[in-house]
Amino acid sequence: MSELLQDFQKKLIFPLDFPSQRYTERLQQITLLVGAIVASIVGLSTQSLKNLIIVYGISIAITALVVLPAYPAYTRRKLQWVQPKVVNISTESIE
């Protein structure tokens, strides 16, 4: 049962490749900042805190949609590890 859970946890990691990690982080900062500024302006101009919270909430939801899931475009550039050159080592030779 616990092995099953561990397998399940490993599947929940949803890793991104390195360039996409950098890209999503920057994208998240920009969209949240723009969302906060737009929400403040909308709230101030309509004189309503409710509108401000709605606009900011929408901007957070959009950011989450863009940043959180591991889209195929974010996982394409996996690191290429160096391939081992020696393939077969017989155990007898070490002994």
């Binding site: 949803f14 990690q21 949240l32 906060a36 101030l44 004189q47 950011t63 591991a70």
Partner: protein, 186 residues
């Protein structure tokens, strides 16, 4: 930013951080809005204040050892328009009618009446012949013979930011007649 949970955490942190900046922005802009609406210059008229005194022997009315304590009540007229106190950040306004007077060694302030105003539509106050909500007695001595200075003060309770206190312009001085003199008038 490697795993889903890391991405979720950084997103949440950043959203809350910007939320704090937004709330500071709200508090500052609403303060400037109050200034531009001249919230400190709201006029008020307090008229025809009639104090009446009674003696209470309950310790819930300030009596000590069964000695009768002078309790004061008033009736009054009040008119003011508190709409300049309402901004996009005002949750409610607490308006209270206070009286200031000098004690033996102290300067005292007592509240006779108050009202909670929750919307801009109710902000125009006009009461005639209203009775004070509270019985007032002096902790040291007695109220009769004291000169009370009545003022309407307000307290803005905002959604975000600190409480803001202030008072309206307009005050009224009333001398409290002693109970004996009051009886003579009757």
């Amino acid at each position: 930013m490697f795993s889903l949970s890391q991405r979720f955490q950084t997103l949440g942190n950043q959203a809350i951080t910007y939320g704090l900046f937004i709330s500071v922005f709200i508090a500052i802009t609403s303060w400037f809005q109050l200034q531009s609406q001249d919230a400190d210059l709201v006029p008020s008229t307090i008229e025809s204040i009639k104090p009446s005194l009674s003696f209470r022997t309950s310790r819930y009315y300030g009596s000590v050892n069964g000695k009768p304590k002078e309790n004061a009540k008033i009736t009054f007229d009040l008119e003011t328009d508190l709409t300049p106190l309402f901004t996009w950040n005002t949750k409610q306004v607490f308006a209270y009618l206070t009286a200031e007077y000098d004690g033996k060694n102290t300067h005292n302030e007592v509240v006779f009446w108050d009202k909670i105003i929750t919307s801009k539509d109710e902000a125009h106050l006009k009461v005639n012949g209203a009775k004070s909500k509270y019985n007032i007695w002096d902790a040291q001595d007695k109220l009769s013979g004291k000169e009370l200075e009545f003022k309407l003060k307000w307290n803005i309770q905002p959604y975000v930011g600190p409480l803001i206190y202030g008072e309206t312009i307009g005050s009224k001085d009333v001398l409290v007649q002693s109970a004996a003199a009051d009886d003579d008038n009757k």
